[in-house]
Subunit: 397 residues, 2 copies
Amino acid sequence: MEYTPFTPPNRTLMGPGPSDVHPRVLEAMARPTIGHLDPAFVGLMDEIKALLQYAFQTENRLTMPVSGPGTAGMETGVVNLLEPGDTAIVCHNGVFGRRITAMAERAGAEVVVVEDPWGRAVDPEKVEAALKQHPEAKMLAFVHAETSTGVLSDAETLAALAHEYDCLTLVDTVTSFGGVPLHVDAWGLDVVYTGTQKCLSCVPGLSPITFGERAVEVVQQRTTPVQSWFLDTGLVMAYWGDGAQRSYHHTAPINALYALHEALLMLRKEGLEHAWARHRRLHEALKVGLEVLGLQFIVPEAERTPQLNAVSVPGGVNEGKVRHRLLREHDLEIGAGLGDLAGRIWRIGLMGYAARRENVLKCVDALGTVLADEGLAVDAQGALDAVQSALATPAEA
Amino acid sequence: MEYTPFTPPNRTLMGPGPSDVHPRVLEAMARPTIGHLDPAFVGLMDEIKALLQYAFQTENRLTMPVSGPGTAGMETGVVNLLEPGDTAIVCHNGVFGRRITAMAERAGAEVVVVEDPWGRAVDPEKVEAALKQHPEAKMLAFVHAETSTGVLSDAETLAALAHEYDCLTLVDTVTSFGGVPLHVDAWGLDVVYTGTQKCLSCVPGLSPITFGERAVEVVQQRTTPVQSWFLDTGLVMAYWGDGAQRSYHHTAPINALYALHEALLMLRKEGLEHAWARHRRLHEALKVGLEVLGLQFIVPEAERTPQLNAVSVPGGVNEGKVRHRLLREHDLEIGAGLGDLAGRIWRIGLMGYAARRENVLKCVDALGTVLADEGLAVDAQGALDAVQSALATPAEA
């Protein structure tokens, strides 16, 4: 077999992630590799930590990128906090809550599930009932913005409840980080992890995480070792911790960290509030376009997260065929449903560098064209007009 | 604080890894990101698997890159093979065997340690004694080329012993892969993992791994779940397995996989035998240069691995100062000692793209210059002459 260098197609990534990566980030990643103990690299690590603290809105000292995808960040949170026999309350309203449960069970914990329908926010009343019923619970885990449904839950309220019952919080912000307001310290979130491939305009592969003081204490008071050596924060912090002396734990993914640094620089330059407002504004424009096309959001308006728009597949339409045509004919990627929603919804992301005007126009144009071609009676031109009109509204309005 | 884009210094990486990354690999990594379920990406995954099979010299179907550094690959091997109560024989002759033990213990296994001195190969007689004494052992783990000492152990002989006693092998080839002969199938190695940042000329961050049929059966017959959800090969293979249907497990590090593909292409083009010969040839040239400088290898000649040269720090020389001067004045990184050998040795890597003529010359020149400047009576010019003469010898000689 003859192998040749890979030339990727030039996609517009409007699925649930990875989203479009900013060209500056790609360029940064291609800079020459240096050693993971090089003094120049150690300086870069300090900047990455400070920039992550800004993006998380925290002063937590234990703030660093895990050297693996968001799933590794999730597991880092779970296995450091939980010991065999601990009780964990885990909120399920989509794929990722279930994943936390699977990990917590493998860590030997007793899991109490708080179930909400897919497409709805986590219900604080149910959470409070579970906290009341399980005063022994050590951890309440929930997903801030559920990537499988496009729902945003009220992290501040849930964290306040948890602390009322002396319970730590583990919060998945993979999709929310950089896209919607997130205030780790002000909301009192204990352990929070995210991914780089969503609203950060960065490549996939790293998982920034932060541990608050209470969480650090709990980890330090463990009576059993963390079951993962690779993800044991006590060991990893010998490398990522403060001070000049950084000792080897594993070889850091140097070039991916160049990319993360550049993406964080850009987020800081734009400013978090502006980034949040941009995601919100472009979501509003996309929303009117999708509505004119007759597509129904699966999430009640008040519970939607702007950067991930989940809509039902219209009756009579071949879900997979539409996605494949968008990809083949328009180089546009949107996402399918996951788990219980497979085959029933599309997930349209507006994340990071993908959250820009031309993408909203391109998406509504391409979807309108393909749906009309598939025989659906859609007002493709009306949808585009509506988007343009929404985009013309001043940002202050 | 004002943050600016990071411009790394242009180092020559001759430590224990990361080693110099080929410019083609850096360029490949900066190509536009696409989705992890994009048909174009799925085709790339198939090529990566086939190229990894070539590089491992195996036909194992379960061959894939773990989405994390070599340490994650090590943990993947350990936690998939071992269940609580299993017995594992682990060979210690450097840092990485100890690390396998730490992971095996966290997986609930009973560990039998076979101890050899740092700087010596694993002794097959001791291994056979341990196998005889522990017929219940499920796994024999050892490091092929110890990154902490530059020792190469005889993987073929150790694997043959293990199978005589019906025991699986877990083999660390992080430093050996691509640099010295490695024949996974011909030698009957069961689970073998490596890293991308050594003899592959690729960036750090991924850990290729391969499981043979016997190992796959053992994993399938487990009675307890793999303790890591992230590293559970049964789950990961839903994404990396054969067939058109690839389902989501975690978001693959797309751009790092572009880099891996390009590096594997280049290795295949050069040919494994040629890559092995190149590492051997340049090691011979470096060796004569270091010897003329009066530096002593810590490993007996027959047990040295050519791509990692560990030499004692001469008496009266400030170890750290020499390394820092090499870095600052010559942009040359060499490695310090790890663990028991910290402060006592230097580790000089000749790995992948770093294994080339100009690097050998540069290293001997820079070391000679700095050592002379530090007051050591060294024949710097003689060392360079010896290297040049060794490099002038035809490859066939």
